[in-house]
């Protein structure tokens, strides 16, 4: 997923804890995300979750790698 691209989550690679954690932030299969950028020095990726408020969420690389997104 590149900067500014939008896509829907198709698969979450991880256990129950991982899925619950993401679910609490409204990220689940089908959620549309937009990648806003990645922080320097191996910092997190910033995504915007679809919805009214356009919440920004910072996700560390390890977690982000396990969120599989299909880019439109």
């Amino acid at each position: 997923m590149d900067l500014g691209e939008e896509g829907a989550v198709v698969r979450l690679v991880g256990g129950r804890g991982f899925i619950t954690k993401l679910d609490a932030m409204r990220i689940r299969i089908g959620t549309k995300l937009r990648k806003l950028g990645g922080e320097p020095f191996g910092g997190p990726i910033i995504v915007e979750v679809e919805g009214i408020n356009k919440e920004q969420i910072a996700i560390g690389h390890g977690m982000a790698d396990r969120i599989i997104v299909e880019v439109k």
Partner: protein, 571 residues
């Protein structure tokens, strides 16, 4: 009967708690300000009931310690206990996810639709009646900050009900979507240029330069405000306090009492830093030398907190922080610690794992001097120009980094990645900001003055009894041989166990060279936390980890002092 305040992080539970109970609590615009639950009492009709401010949670399937605490409290609810579910009206979608989980717990509740005053501004319309009808629970639109709707909320608390809403929990978010379609209308809102800039402050290309700019301006504002206030206080002291002290001095004549209260007076003038009396140094240091900077620091910090800048800073430097074993969020305790280590150490509980909490607490208490101490170091070392100050803070930074690298390598435990919501910017609510500033300033005065006076008193006692000479002789191998300081500097280290600011002040009469000032300032920061910080370290880390922390501090101060003494000789 007990009332539990439950809601997502950063929806204003603590503001509401403060409104309902009249208890002052610290409120900020980032998740996790409340790390352990707070209790208070409020009037509900003619009953006095217990109100509990539960830490914010995203879900009732616990993924963090705060969520475990909250869930446990929910499960231990008694028969006539109720929940006031605090929701963010400007982000109903997120809040309703938790609402539906609460519904499944089958507990009587009321929904407080908080931040209602901003709903219109954001361009949202919410049909409260319809929401009440769908869920079957009383809902009250409120603004905890301004106090709007609080009375109605308290009335509705008497009608707390179980929800009759039924749904399949696996499809929770779909249900939220359906409810939203029925109760919420979103108007069109233009994206202004300001919105775009605000959004970009978390993106690296624009965000990093802005972060640098923010930190620099913060520094200069603190300096300007601090310096201005110091001058003002100096003027006040000279005009009103000095004549009074001189008169007391005349009345007392020479003697023990004069020494303790006034200290040294030469030619009808008082050197407030060197006289070492309770009424001179003991009053001047906290109120005129330190308080101005403490106030200025908290002014800037509180503003940054309430706007919501700190979480963005946390995200921006998360990558760098992880390189030394910390977490982006560590930046919040570190910044609080630069004000005073006590709230700094307490706030390390926002970090998830023991390792990150321990590391943040230790690195702060070893190498982050509080504003009180920094102000004194600036005054003392700053006189000799920027080189001295630069050496002190560069050394502290190197120590800070190396402690991080060492602990990262050798301490077992996990360093989980950052995963957090970035809160929206908010325009600070000025009355709350003033209140927070007042509280923090008051806490400083309350916590600092007794220790400070005790410190000044002890110095007098040690000098009067000749105990200083004995201590100086015992400690001279370290203080003189290793660190190159005069043996009398021991008094500074003794006072440093109580208060670091007076301790730095004690160096003034010793007429140290710039090199010695640098070494003394660094060693005073590193060697041991002040009494208040030590107490809070024991409480937060436990006795065992505090012992470990102290061993790190002592070894670092021995080594760093010796190293500086060697290096500075060649410069």
């Amino acid at each position: 009967m007990r009332v539990l305040l439950i809601g997502n992080p950063n929806v204003g539970k603590s503001v509401l708690f403060s409104r309902l109970t009249g208890i002052d609590v610290i409120i900020s615009n980032y998740p996790g300000t409340t790390v352990e639950f707070t209790k208070g009492w409020m009037k509900l009709g003619d009953r006095t009931v217990e109100l509990i401010d539960v830490p914010g949670v995203y879900t009732l399937r616990p993924t963090t310690k705060a969520e475990e605490v909250a869930l446990k409290m929910l499960e231990e609810m008694g028969k006539d206990d109720i929940v006031v579910h605090v929701a963010d009206s400007t982000n109903l979608e997120r809040s309703l996810g938790l609402t539906l989980q609460l519904v499944k717990k089958e507990i009587p509740m009321v929904i407080a639709l908080n931040i209602w005053d901003e709903v219109e501004h954001v361009g949202i319309k919410i049909d409260v009646k319809e929401l009440e009808r769908i869920l079957g629970i009383p809902c009250a639109p409120i603004s905890a900050l301004t106090g709007q709707g609080i009375k109605e909320l308290v009335e509705k608390m008497k009608e707390a009900k179980l929800s009759y809403f039924d749904f399949n929990e696996e499809r929770r978010w779909d249900e939220v979507g359906k409810i939203l379609k029925r109760v919420q209308v979103v108007g069109h809102r233009h994206h202004t240029l300001w919105d775009r800039v605000a959004e970009a402050t978390v993106l690296p290309i624009i965000g990093l330069p802005i972060a640098l700019l923010v930190m620099l301006s913060a520094f200069f504002v603190i300096r300007a405000v601090g310096e201005g206030l110091v001058n003002f206080m100096d003027m006040l002291f000279e005009k009103f306090w000095t004549p009074l002290v001189l008169r007391i001095s005349d009345a007392l004549a020479e003697g023990v009492l004069h020494n303790i209260l006034i200290g040294k007076v030469a030619d009808k003038t008082i050197d407030y830093l060197e006289s070492l009396g309770l009424l001179t140094t003991g009053i001047y240091v906290p109120f005129a030398a330190v308080l101005p900077y403490v106030f200025a620091f908290y002014l800037v910090l509180s503003l940054l907190e309430d706007i919501g800048y700190l979480p963005r800073l946390a995200v921006l430097i998360d990558g760098l922080m992880h390189k030394i074993g910390l977490h982006g969020l560590s930046v919040i305790p570190m910044m609080l610690g630069a004000g005073c280590n006590v709230p700094g150490v307490l706030s390390t509980r926002i970090l998830e794992t023991r390792k990150q909490g321990f590391m943040t607490a230790v690195m702060m208490s070893i190498a982050v001097p509080c504003t009180a101490q920094t102000a004194m170091i600036m005054g003392l070392v700053g006189k000799h120009g920027i080189v001295g100050l630069g050496s002190v803070f560069l050394t502290l930074f190197l120590v800070w980094t190396s402690v991080g690298l060492l602990l990262k390598k050798f301490m077992p435990g996990e360093s989980p990645e950052i995963f957090m919501e970035i809160p929206h910017y908010r325009i600070p609510h000025i009355p709350s900001l003033i209140k927070k500033l007042r509280m923090r300033t008051f806490w400083f005065i309350r916590d600092a003055i007794p220790w400070l006076l005790l410190g000044v008193f002890m110095v007098n006692l040690f000098y009067a009894t000749g105990f200083v000479d004995i201590l100086a002789r015992i400690s001279s191998p370290v203080i003189s041989k290793l660190w190159g300081l005069p043996p009398e500097a021991v008094i500074s280290l003794i006072v440093g166990f109580l208060r670091k600011d007076v301790a730095v002040g004690m160096l003034t009469p010793l007429n140290l060279s710039l090199e010695q000032l640098v070494i003394a300032s660094v060693v005073l920061t590193l060697y041991f936390p002040c009494a208040a910080t030590f107490a809070v370290l024991v409480r937060t880390l436990g006795a065992k980890d505090t012992v470990r922390a102290v061993i790190i501090m002592l070894s670092y101060s021995l080594a760093t002092g010796a190293l500086l003494n060697t290096v500075l000789k060649f410069m």
